[in-house]
């Protein structure tokens, strides 16, 4: 997990977070140059204010100051010197901008999708994750687009930031030389969950990275019982920004107390696997009364197994979990038999069935 827990942490200064990318030092050098020049200037002005106000303080109401003759040289000098100074800063900023914003040609490309309120990363292999895993010392170029409103992809430790727009691609790149976990935050206001639209970049060794690509990457749910995997997805896919599991309403309806109940936003049927599946893939299909149609579609981001796991988790919090929901998957069992909509007739999770009686669906 992300390591920084205190303000004073290794590699951080009073002003800047630790440097996590190869380009961070260029930006920091510029920052520090302006910082120190500014500090000198500000202290100069402050001392000037105090000194002049004291030295020429009014001694008597009858003070009659003699007009000061204006000095052309003085006026020119405080026009020209700042001009030169800002030009230096401009060229420095320009050079550092060019140096840090053009990605190397050999950069590894990852597609980034921003949506309310999480990030998804798509690798050239077709792998979809919610955590960005990259090899150390490798330039990585992110090609970013948004599903809904504007977002902005910001990694303080890498000193990179770029807005993410719908209908358009924007780019950033970085090269992280050291292993570790870094934080992504969204810096373009995007609504309710704006401040929760974080994410992590995990910089790993090459071997670990290839392993990650091969295994479908941190496919953390692979060896977990479906309900537990669903609970993980609940956080990692940011369902939790809109749906609570304690019965209170947030942006969306709570997941507690819905299983087996009449379908919200529909006149027939109860909440079952099919309802959940449809609500995840096509959220506009059912709009629970009293809520806005805000949810994006998760089509292509959650496979059948993941949707099944979410249904299992919902069953679990509603006290309707089947044994299959709680058992770890067997190695050979096809993923989509686990409590998904395609499950065999009378299968696990059918709300009409008494809970826990259908032993046949267990994998053992």
């Amino acid at each position: 997990m992300y390591e920084r827990t205190e303000f004073w942490t290794e590699g951080a200064s009073l002003w800047l977070p630790p440097q996590g990318s190869t380009t961070a030092h260029e930006i920091d050098a510029l920052f520090n140059f302006i910082l120190w020049t500014s500090t000198v200037l500000t202290i100069g002005v402050a001392v000037g204010i105090v000194y002049l106000a004291w030295r020429y303080r009014r001694r008597s109401p009858a003070d009659r100051p003699v007009p000061v003759k204006e000095s052309k040289a003085l006026e020119l000098s405080w026009s020209i010197i700042p001009t030169l100074l800002v030009l230096v800063v401009f060229f420095w900023g320009f050079r550092a901008y060019v140096g840090t914003s053009i990605p190397p040609v050999d950069a590894y490309v990852v597609n980034v999708k921003g949506q309310k309120w999480f990030w998804t990363f798509e690798y050239p292999t077709g792998l979809n994750t919610d955590e960005l895993v990259v090899p150390e010392g490798q330039p990585v170029k992110l090609v970013m687009t948004s599903q809904d409103v504007l977002h902005s992809f910001y990694v303080p430790e890498f000193r990179i930031k770029m807005d993410v727009l719908p209908n358009r691609y924007t780019y950033v790149w970085f090269n992280a030389p050291a292993r570790g976990v870094y934080q992504i935050v969204c810096t373009e206001y995007c609504g309710t969950g704006h401040s929760n639209m974080g994410g992590h970049i995990r910089v790993v060794g090459r071997d670990e990275f290839y392993e990650f690509l091969r295994t479908g990457g941190g496919d953390a749910g692979a060896d977990l019982p479906p309900a537990e995997y669903g609970e993980q997805l609940y956080t990692s896919k940011r369902c939790n920004t809109c749906h609570t599991v304690d019965g209170t309403s947030a942006t969306g309806p709570s997941w507690l107390g819905i299983w087996g109940q009449p379908r919200p936003g529909s006149t027939s049927g109860v909440v079952d696997d099919n309802y959940i599946r449809e609500s995840v893939l096509d959220p506009a299909a059912f709009i629970a009364p009293g809520f806005q149609p805000q949810m994006p579609s998760y089509e292509g981001q959650l496979d059948d197994r993941a949707i099944g796991a979410i249904a299992a988790y919902i069953r679990q919090i509603n006290g309707a979990a089947t044994p299959a929901d709680l058992a770890p998957p067997g190695g050979a069992a096809p993923a989509d038999t686990l409590g998904t909509a395609d499950a065999p007739e009378g299968g696990a999770g059918d709300p009409s069935e008494p809970v826990g009686l259908d032993e046949a669906q267990q994998n053992e």
Binding site: T5, F7, A12, W15, L16, P17, E26, I27, F31, I34, T42, I49, A53, Y56, R57, R58, R59, P61, D63, P65, V66, P67, V68, L74, W78, S79, V86, V89, F90, G93, F94, R95, A96, Y97, T100, S101, V149, L150, S152, Y154, P156, E157, R159, K161, P166, N167, R168, Q183, V185, T187, E188, Y189, C190, G191, T192, G193, H194, S195, G198, T251
Partner: protein
Amino acid sequence: MATTSQAATAVATAAYPPGHEPVHNYLKEPKGIKSWLLTVDHKRIGIMYLISVAVAFAIGGILALLVRAELFTLGPTLMEADTYNRVFTMHGIVMVFAFIIPSIMATLGNFLLPIMIGAKDVAFPRLNLASLYIYWLGMLFALSSVVTGGVDTGWTFYTPYSKETGTFVLMMGLGVFIAGFSSILTGLNFIVTIHKMRAPGMTWNRLPLFLWSVYATSIVQILATPVIGITMVLLALERALSIGIFDPALGGDPVLFQHFFWFYSHPAVYIMILPAFGIISELMGTFSRQKVYGYRAVALSSLAIALLGFLVWGHHMFTSGQSPLSSVVFSMISFLIGVPSGIKVFNWLATMFRGSVWLQTPMLYALSFLFQFTIGGVTGIMVGALAADIHLHDTYFVVSHFHYVMMGGTVVSLLGGLHYWWPKMTGRLYNERLGKLSALLVFLGFNMTFFVQFIMGSQGMPRRYYDYPDMPWMQPLHQLSTVGSWILGLGLLVVLVNGLWSLRRGKLAPGNPWGAVTLEWSYCTSPPDPHNFHRTPLVTHGPYDFHAVLGGDGAGDGHDPAPIPDVAVGAPQESVSVEDGTTQPTQPK
């Protein structure tokens, strides 16, 4: 001219030397609510604006305190995320459109402009009243949006969020659009007034620096505001009819909205700060009893800032996806605009040199402005530098930067200006001790609230965050900032108490308590006559020619009113001779 001894004794009892008592008071003649609501007197319109923007400032300030309080602890503290988003949005909208844009221009500008140039009123008095009503109408629209649930887009209304959100953006957009008209009409009125209504002898070189600032600001208001107008109309149509110009789903362009928005809103920053520059020039001159150093440079730098201000809007968009080339050009011009601002600061500092610096409340505000504006300026250099801005954009660093300019700059200078002109506007002196206390509290509270935000920002704290679950180590800094906001709030409360107290209990103000030499002090009673002057003044000296006007006779030292030629109606003055030997012709009786 009154002599020292006479006047000094007079002050102790009656505040006015014999023959200089205000005969007619614009506040009292004519009487009645109707006479106020239908007035065309620029002074009354200024006062009504002052009350309106003070209410707006109080609302915006309370919202700001709520925002800070919410961030005091991790997780929900006072409100839900959706409420918080509405609160910070309303804080921004109220402070920008309802308070700070009309703040100095429509209050002190309206009150002082005609008097300072020796005119009876602005060029179009009825238009002036209309602009007040238009402002109120705009506020009414905004209010209707608030009572129906508020807006959660941020004050920038970025599309496509502002198109999708379920809040009442339409009414708010129309409110901003309408308020924009008020701003345009004020600017138009002021430009014509300065061009056409100056009294004889009031040459451009004798124009008080406050008016140079007002003039420059008016240009910006006229040229920039129509663009926000059309932007808001398009946004309203986007919401009402889905016309698609800003909607990427229909082939429109959200970045175009940002260009339109900042084409207005960056110059609008100069609408906010330029009049503040003007106030500071007046304060530095009067309270140093010195000619403002480099009058010409200070005056022309205002114009330079106003014009360059139109060419830098893209520096708000370095990370927006605009072309890198335009980012470079915008960055370059943005730096150039720093130069005239720097020139001003140095000139103000130099004004104190060999002066007689009188540390009354307005001067304390002016000096804290100098300090805070310097910090606001240098951090502007920081966020204007392309590479550094990539890191700092949309973080607390930017939040702090613009609060240092807007709050530490504009608001502090407005407070200084209000204290300075309070005797003129109300005819009463505020309590000097309370005044100094407020200046101190505002200075401490402000810097405590916002300096720490620079550090938070450069450490990576994004703005508009309801919570900081990923950065719990930010909490002590947030808490410091929040406590600072309480001190700041207390300081502002002291200002309010002082003002209200003075209206009832304050000492009667002399015509010229500060010994200033601009026309509102030297030709006008406190409070002024409904028609400002009985006779059109003849201006024979510059706005800061203390030596020329005061000579060596001890007049105008702050206790004893400076010479007030011809203020009392019907005063038996055949002619007024002034220092340079010219004589004001006797008016026909």
